[in-house]
């Protein structure tokens, strides 16, 4: 699905990603954990094609294509989806209109014709059920005035609508109450298939009780310093980052 090799990225003269290696295959769920400021969101932004970062080294192959050569919108159209840590508000543009535009742009890219209004509305109905999204939110302006939790839920709703191959969820669990967490997690689980993959960025083991990862990686100072199975998350939860920090301080 995606293969990241020795990825380096910096902003100004500050290097934030310092040699990331990660291989995600179809059907897998990977969790990335790591202390604040370690570069998790930067990694997801760089993969999604944000232009603020300079890629100084490395290669990313996404479904056989060179991801770093593609424009951000083409990466999305190729099936890469990012659930933002801080979803953006777009006043005056309804969620529905936004998604319809997005969906049809993606379809056009694949040579498919526009989805009919009827089919589209049926899809909205179906997918909003999946994350139990209030139907009022679907017709409101994109994220405008949404509560923190509503914004996160809306990200997963959009993901369900766009049906990506690779979804990167950047702290989608933070800000969700217990019930919402369960609903969102079950939505993600239902969308999982042998043909798609998920990267979960999170601080909390709790999410991983609901969405069980195949692999857990620890990102520290721009590098993946440790990888393991789901037990690595439990270990972290118990011990915190102290040991990791000690072990890798010298490598800084």
């Amino acid at each position: 699905m995606i293969s990241i090799k020795n990825l380096h990225a910096s902003i100004g003269d500050k290097e934030i990603l310092r040699g990331i290696n990660l291989e995600v295959k179809a059907g897998e769920v990977h969790a990335i954990m790591g202390p604040n400021g370690s570069g998790k969101s930067t990694l997801s932004s760089v993969l999604a094609g944000r232009e603020d970062y300079e890629i100084t080294e490395g290669e990313v192959i996404f479904n056989g294509k060179n991801l770093l050569d593609m424009a951000a919108e083409d990466r999305a159209r190729e099936g890469l989806f990012l659930a933002f840590q801080y979803p953006i508000e777009i006043p005056g543009v309804s969620n529905i209109n936004f998604l319809r535009t997005a969906l049809n742009e993606i379809r056009a890219y694949h040579g498919q014709e526009e989805m009919s209004a009827k089919d589209f509305l049926a899809l909205v109905k179906d997918k909003s059920k999946l994350v139990e999204l209030d139907s009022k939110l679907a017709s409101r302006s994109v994220n405008e005035g949404f509560s923190g939790g509503e914004k996160k839920r809306n990200e997963i709703f959009q993901m369900a609508m766009l049906n990506p191959k690779l979804a990167i969820l950047d702290e989608t669990d933070s800000g969700l109450d217990i019930d919402a967490l369960r609903i969102v997690a079950s939505g993600v689980n239902k969308l999982k298939s042998k043909d798609n993959a998920t990267i979960l960025i999170t601080h909390y083991q709790r999410l991983l009780d609901y969405i069980v990862p195949d692999f857990v990686h620890i990102l520290y100072k721009g590098r993946i310093v440790k990888s393991g199975g789901k037990e690595l998350a439990l270990e972290l939860e118990a011990k915190g980052y102290d040991e990791i920090k000690k072990e890798f301080e010298l490598a800084d």
Partner: protein, 483 residues
């Protein structure tokens, strides 16, 4: 990145920049009483109208061009303009088939197919169009259908011939010939335009529309529109404009007057797309227009909606004089400036009657090196008890080389008035654009989406067909200009 964006934008051409090769009947360049007599004679006008023109001209000679607007440009040389240019008609036009095929082709390019209009005539509710080409009205569609209801919709010249009493009674009522420099000039040299009269108790069964097109080079366009809604009448009126691409600036100084009687309502919508000049600010139309309505009697309503994307310099303040009690004035505006365009636009709401209400919603969008100003006056006269005004003026900036300015003036002479003013300035953020791109929506589409969202309150006021056109136009005008 900024450079790339500019590059992209530079390649964005004005898509209506063609000229039509037709035989034109022109006056010599320059302006004096003889030219005015020439125009008046060409149009076989009655003496009172020639007098009206000459009086306006004599006043104009003593007036100076207004300097207060937040625009700068090389003042036009009024002796270097052709004041009359008519496509040479072969004879009186009784049907569409007799219109010069070159002209018809032009209108097809503009997206108004008169053929289409003709074919659909009577089948469903449609739009009646009057087309003004350079200075002369070429063809009014649906005239017969409208006549059945007693609606008069024709060119201004025709109205002068056929309904002189109406023209004489109402012309200059909302915009006196000495109102301002450009209104005076127009009053002296206007050549054509549209005339519309909706009789008592009649709701116009279709939208009435005028398309203006400047074609010949070195010409100015000075059209006049007069709309009268008698008691209990209603009409929705549309105006569209385009001009060819030229290196020199061309002057457009129009006058639009609206008069509403008791319980009458006029909705006037404009999509203004005069040639804005090239990326360096060369050429483009100077659009100096006086538009004013007067709610003459009680419970009447005048509503202006404008989407302004064209012109090198715009100077335009569609206003309403709220004379009748309980009358309502509205102004909904989107003004887009890009490259080196300059717009100084807004409205005046003059409250005279009791319980009069006005609403002002203005959305300015500036990109490139442009300057976009809102200028508005809300005036509550003494005795205008319980007057209400709500104004909202928003500015959206794209990039950091453009300017947005707001000049709201408020004069209250009656203590019972309630006047509210809100203003915001925002920028299209990289974050918003990236969010859209991450969902598969490219830059152009994203800007279109965001801008249309921003202008929604105004676009919603436009009739359907026009709203779609306006949305497209907004996207085109802003192509490639990212903040």
């Amino acid at each position: 990145m900024a450079n790339e964006i500019l590059e992209e934008h530079i390649q964005n051409e004005y898509k209506w920049g063609f000229t039509t090769d037709i035989d034109a009947d022109e006056a010599p360049k320059g302006l004096n009483e003889d030219i005015i007599r020439f125009i008046s004679a060409k149009k076989s006008e009655p003496d009172w109208l020639l007098e009206f023109r000459l009086k306006a001209f004599r006043n104009w000679k003593n007036m100076v061009e207004p300097q207060w607007a937040h625009v700068s440009y090389k003042k036009p040389d009024f002796q270097d303009i052709i004041y009359y240019s008519a496509p040479k008609p072969k004879k009186e036009l009784a049907s569409l088939d007799e219109v010069d095929p070159e002209i018809l082709k032009t209108f097809e390019k503009l997206g108004i197919s008169l053929e289409e209009q003709k074919r659909l005539s009577g089948v469903q509710s449609n739009i009646a169009v009057d087309v003004v080409f350079d200075s002369v009205s070429v063809k009014t569609t649906f005239k017969e259908t409208l006549a059945e209801k007693g609606i008069i919709f024709c060119s201004f010249s025709e109205a002068v011939q056929e309904h002189p009493e109406l023209v004489k009674k109402y012309m200059g009522m909302a915009v006196p010939p000495t109102d301002n420099f450009y209104a005076a000039l127009n009053s002296a040299v206007f050549t054509d335009g549209s005339f519309c009269y909706i009789p008592k108790g009649v709701r116009s069964p279709m939208e009435l529309s005028t398309y203006f097109r400047i074609n010949a080079s070195g010409t100015g366009q000075f059209e006049r529109t007069l709309i009268i809604a008698d008691e209990d009448a209603y009409v929705s009126y549309l105006e569209g404009c385009t001009a060819p691409q030229r290196d020199e600036n061309q002057l457009h100084a129009a006058v639009v007057e609206i008069i509403t009687h008791k319980n009458a309502e006029v909705k006037y919508s404009t999509v203004q797309n005069w040639y804005p000049g090239d990326k360096d600010g060369k050429g483009g139309i100077f659009n100096f227009v006086t538009k004013r309505g007067i709610c003459l009697e009680d419970n009447s309503k005048i509503s202006w909606t404008q989407v302004e994307t064209g012109s090198a310099v715009t100077w335009k303040y569609p206003s309403v004089i709220l004379k009748g009690n309980n009358s309502v004035g509205e102004f909904y505006s989107v003004a887009v400036t890009n490259n080196y365009q300059q717009a100084d636009t807004g409205t005046k709401m003059i409250h005279i009657g009791k319980n009069t209400r006005s609403t002002i919603i203005s959305k300015g969008i500036s990109a490139g090196f442009s300057n976009n100003s809102y200028r508005g006056l809300v005036q509550i006269k003494k005795g205008a008890s319980n007057a209400r005004n709500f104004s909202q003026c928003d500015s959206l900036l794209m990039g950091d080389k453009c300017g947005a300015h707001t000049f709201p003036y408020i004069e209250i002479k009656d203590k019972s008035a309630v006047v509210e003013h809100e203003a915001t300035t925002s920028k299209i953020g990289e974050d918003q654009l990236f969010y859209c791109k991450q969902r598969g929506i490219d830059n152009e589409k994203a800007i279109g989406l965001i801008v249309n969202g921003y202008c929604k309150e105004v676009l919603n006021k436009l009739p359907m067909e026009f709203a779609v056109e306006a949305q497209k136009l907004l996207a085109i005008s802003l192509e490639g200009s990212v903040g």
